[in-house]
């Protein structure tokens, strides 16, 4: 009897949690008819924001991959004094409030900031903001993926005559591929949704710095813009869901899990 009651409570709690999470998503799609939503997507505000979002996100992801991969490899392969401090630094943007990231970027790259660049208000500023907030998601996953590569395989490759570069591209990278791809998809999704740091650091100008999330906010503030804001939201929900599903699929055929199960994700710090 008590066991049945407990089971009932657990199911009720589970139902409440799932309903709570699903409700806002459902509401976005049901507030107005799907046809009306879809028709808003051809609005120039939406297409302009889409172009800005795609451009800045793609450049930011290229930067994250090009710079984040070597950084993650270095952090994963070596044990040194201060390593955990560096790993914490890498992960920090993940938990920082976006407004703090925005202020930080302003005083670092602003005209009156540390580096005196003219970056604020440019499209490059959007890219920088996206790269700053999204890179930890990729780098965390990349560090874990590199750590999971069996060091015996790396050692074997080296004793068989392959140099460190060849070993990296022929052995390490293929083994870590799944984890890297999953991290990249997460970073992509986070970058696409970036709002707070962007609006503070890059401002909001249609066709230049107004990304999709910024357009949601701008249209919400315009009389009669609510439906457009809803349509962009629906679009972002669909894209984000697609990215999450991609991650799940990628992780399922990730080869590195099978090569060396005993060594998987063995991490001594971090």
């Amino acid at each position: 009897m008590r066991r049945a009651l407990l089971a009932g409570l657990v199911f009720a709690a589970a139902f409440a949690a799932l309903a709570f999470l699903a409700l806002p998503i459902v509401a976005i799609f049901t507030h107005v008819s799907p046809g009306k939503l879809a028709s808003q997507l051809s609005n120039p505000v939406v297409t302009d924001a889409l172009v800005v979002s795609l451009k800045t996100t793609l450049v930011a992801q290229a930067l994250i991959l090009a710079l984040g991969t070597p950084a993650a490899y270095v952090l994963a392969g070596r044990r040194f004094r201060g390593r955990s401090v560096l790993v914490t630094l890498v992960e920090l943007p993940l938990v920082l409030p976006p407004a703090v990231a925005g202020i930080g970027l302003l005083v670092a790259f602003g005209r009156v900031g540390l580096l005196h660049t003219g970056l604020p208000f440019t499209q490059s500023a959007v890219t920088v903001a996206v790269a700053f907030v999204a890179s930890p998601l990729y780098m965390r996953q990349a560090i874990a993926a590199f750590e999971a590569v069996d060091p015996n395989l790396v050692a074997a490759s080296r004793t068989l005559g392959a140099g460190p570069v060849k070993t990296f591209f022929r052995v390490v990278l293929p083994l870590a591929r799944g984890g890297l791809a999953a991290g990249e998809a997460l970073a992509f999704a986070r970058g696409l949704g970036e709002f707070g740091a962007t609006i503070m650091f890059a401002g909001s100008l249609r066709g230049v710095t107004q990304t999709l999330p910024l357009a949601v906010y701008a249209e919400f503030n315009v009389a009669g813009g609510f439906t457009i804001a809803l349509a962009i939201s629906a679009l972002l929900v669909l894209v984000s869901a697609a990215l999450l599903i991609t991650i799940k699929l990628v992780l399922q055929w990730q080869p590195s899990r099978r090569t060396s199960p005993s060594r998987f994700a063995l991490s001594t710090s971090g």
Binding site: V112, Y217, F226
Partner: protein, 246 residues
Amino acid sequence: MRIFALLIACLVALAAAATAAARTRATITVYAAASLTDVFPQIDSTPKYSFGGSNTLAAQIQLGAPADVFASANTTLPQQLFQKGLCSQPVVFTRNTLVLIVPKSNPAGIHSVYDLTKSGIKLDVAATAVPVGSYTRQILKNMALTSVLGNVVSNETDVREVLAKVALGEADAGFVYSTDAKTVPGQVTVLTMPAWAQPKVQYGICVVKASANATAAQAFVNEVMSKTGQAKLLAAGFLPRVKPKK
């Protein structure tokens, strides 16, 4: 385990702070234009305030936000709410003027509004839907200077964002209310705009119909309209609600 204890200690501290804050008597919530950020708490420090772009606040009230009073930087938005039956008939409680501000360092060398026509200037303004953004476009239209809108680098969501970005020196110039410029003395240089070009900047206030504290809300409106309320507004640089006859 120790980390867990630390986490719990943090939560307890937060909860204690929250209950201490909630112990004060039930208060009304005032949704007010960002330009009123400094002066409204001086008039009455008891209400909870939500400052922002008047258009954002109006949109939130339409969606059922728990506001008791709405104070807007124009009369159109409260009038629209009134027509929809969402708030009482708005009254004008103060007026303001528009100014052009540049950072103290004046990196772009702007000494008059006509310098804004120089190419490559970073002009920061509020979005058209924000009252101050609409006034900005009106004043430029009155002066036949709408071409300078080509130098706009960002459409901000309220006047204080324009103020912050110019005060910080990131934007070369921006349009704000004269009262906003007064809140950052020493950080910006104010370039006054000619009286003949000024738009009619009137602030409207109304009691939200859905308010559960309509009496307290009306009392707040009365306070703003009172002699002391008006004196505080004047001291902050706002103009008398009725234009004095010459």
